[in-house]
Symmetry: C2
Subunit: 333 residues, 2 copies
């Protein structure tokens, strides 16, 4: 749930209890509460709607299931949590037959088995509208190790745990051609990043286990949006350097501006972005190398008190302020 | 999730882990897992779809929210659990404006405040179809006190924690006249049972706290259906006595057969039904009296080994077997 949504709901329900002290992570995409001396429980929920988040031309039924769970697991990754269970609520339209529905569950089960995450419940109902798939994921994280957006401080390094932009470029190919088109090998890889993203659970666990002060977010709406959320939650200015943002070789054939737009504003990458004290980035980087995982330093946190994100394009130009929106014309959400 | 749904999903996803030993309540409408030495965590999810579970003619937006949470809390009640948190995922159609959506959240918040249950997250998306509202409720129950369907044994008393049939009669009035009709005082009460059912959380807690062997289910699909679920889970025969099933005074004007149909098959009553050893029913009954709550003994558990439910109408007729379905013509679910 976005912070703005939460504040809106709170404003219209003034009599509700909202015992914030019970739930410390609220306002981020996942919430958590204490269950014992060692661990906190974490929960998050995400919904995918046919015709809004996917169509039968962009995702196969198997991929619909896979992605619905991946998106949720990514929220857990951004908290540094260990996935444990999931529940699936599905509103089924007449356009989906039993075999297709079976594929949806297989897609979820495949990804779930990788993380030993068990399906423990759900609800199956019919709808006269498009398919609506809601996944609730439950995980746990060691007390005090949860990673939140509000932890960024001046001088921190800004990092990214993978390349961005591939998913959005893949989606554009799908919207233009449908998934039944004969794509090149490079195109297939781009499309695959959109259809079956890998949640960065392991990366989140490494960051949480480091016990360092880290701010973190998963890249669902693009780096620009996620870093603005960290800037707002932490009340700091963030500066990122165009030359440091990793470019996917698969995007090499795209014009430079289009590349940058995908990288910053594309979204649905489900890598992690965040901040750590500058003198500790090296330590984090070595930990990632040990696990054969990527991490890139893409900028710095500037001063406190003014929430904003700036892109430094090159030495001749002054930095450009980038907002959450950027260009977002292919996403209705 | 129904047991049949769960078995189907398991059958199509043979490679998934489904570590049943981690989750002991699975197969009932709620699942639970251990979090510390004293308590288990409980979770359940339910979805309400416009045009299937309600229309703008049967429920106001406020009532849509109220009922969506009530239905979920009822699942917790059937486990004897204490509600703690809820998450709301809503797919919004263009037919719903912001004021109406605010009412949906107010309806939930009103009921939630009664049980000190906090909204801790959710997701808000758009849909081109009807409104889909998914609520996830999280609660806790003392270890070993959870109440499951499989606990019934021969000789047990069968009980019911309130009258049934009012909700279904109320729905019929709504389908015929819409909620904007000028109803009589009695009719308003029937309609209210359909629109804003009270989950039997307190009753579930009394039963769980008794530490007796109790089987329990909430009446979402009618007594006939719920008792058949207990009969199947416990592998016993259940006998209920027409004369002992409490009749709502609000149903007095209906023909006897229509009354009985509503009572047995109507559904959406959200009272609790279950079994307890015959010599302990009196003890339970006194506990309920102390809390000014109703409990009725409506029959007995017969022999083990053959799952079935029988209705005894009077001394001259042989008992009739009643199935889950009964008549169910006004419910699509």
């Amino acid at each position: 749930m976005l912070h703005d949504e939460f504040e809106w709901i709170k404003s219209i329900t003034p009599n509700s209890s909202f015992q914030k002290e019970l739930v410390t992570g609220i306002g981020d995409d996942a919430a958590l509460w204490s269950v014992n001396k060692e661990m906190d429980q974490v929960v998050c929920v995400d919904t995918m709607v046919e015709g809004v988040h996917f169509t039968k031309d962009t995702l196969s039924p198997y991929q619909v299931g896979y992605k619905a769970l991946a998106v949720n697991l990514s929220d857990l990754g951004a908290m540094g949590a260990i996935p444990q269970f999931y529940l699936v609520s599905i509103a089924i339209s007449k356009d989906w037959n039993e075999e297709e529905l079976g594929e949806v569950y297989k897609g979820m089960a495949h990804l779930a088995s990788k993380y030993k995450t068990d399906l423990i419940g759900g609800d199956t109902v019919s709808t006269k509208g498009p398919l609506v798939l809601t996944v609730t994921v439950i995980g746990k994280v060691e007390k005090g190790k949860r990673l939140l957006r509000k932890n960024a401080k001046p001088g921190d390094s800004v990092f990214l745990t993978g390349v961005t932009g591939e998913s959005a470029a893949g989606l554009q190919l799908l919207l233009k051609n449908t998934r039944h088109h004969h794509f090149s090998s490079d195109e297939k890889q781009l499309i695959s990043q959109h259809q079956m993203p890998s949640p960065h659970i392991e990366q989140g666990r490494i960051l949480a286990s480091s016990a360092l002060r880290i701010s973190l977010n998963d890249v669902s709406d693009g780096i620009a949006s996620e870093l603005n959320e960290i800037a707002e939650a932490s009340q700091v200015t963030i500066h990122i350097d165009e030359n440091k943002i990793p470019v996917s070789p698969l995007l090499a054939r795209y014009p430079k501006n289009e590349q940058l737009n995908y990288q910053l504003f594309g979204g649905e990458d489900y890598v992690l972005t965040g901040t750590v004290a500058q003198d500790q980035f090296e330590q984090i980087s070595i930990l990632f190398q040990k696990h054969s995982l990527e991490i890139f330093e893409i900028g710095k946190v500037g001063e406190a008190g003014n929430a904003a994100v700036y892109l430094h394009r090159n030495e001749n130009k002054s930095p450009e302020r980038i907002t959450k929106q950027g260009f977002n014309h292919f996403r209705e959400r």
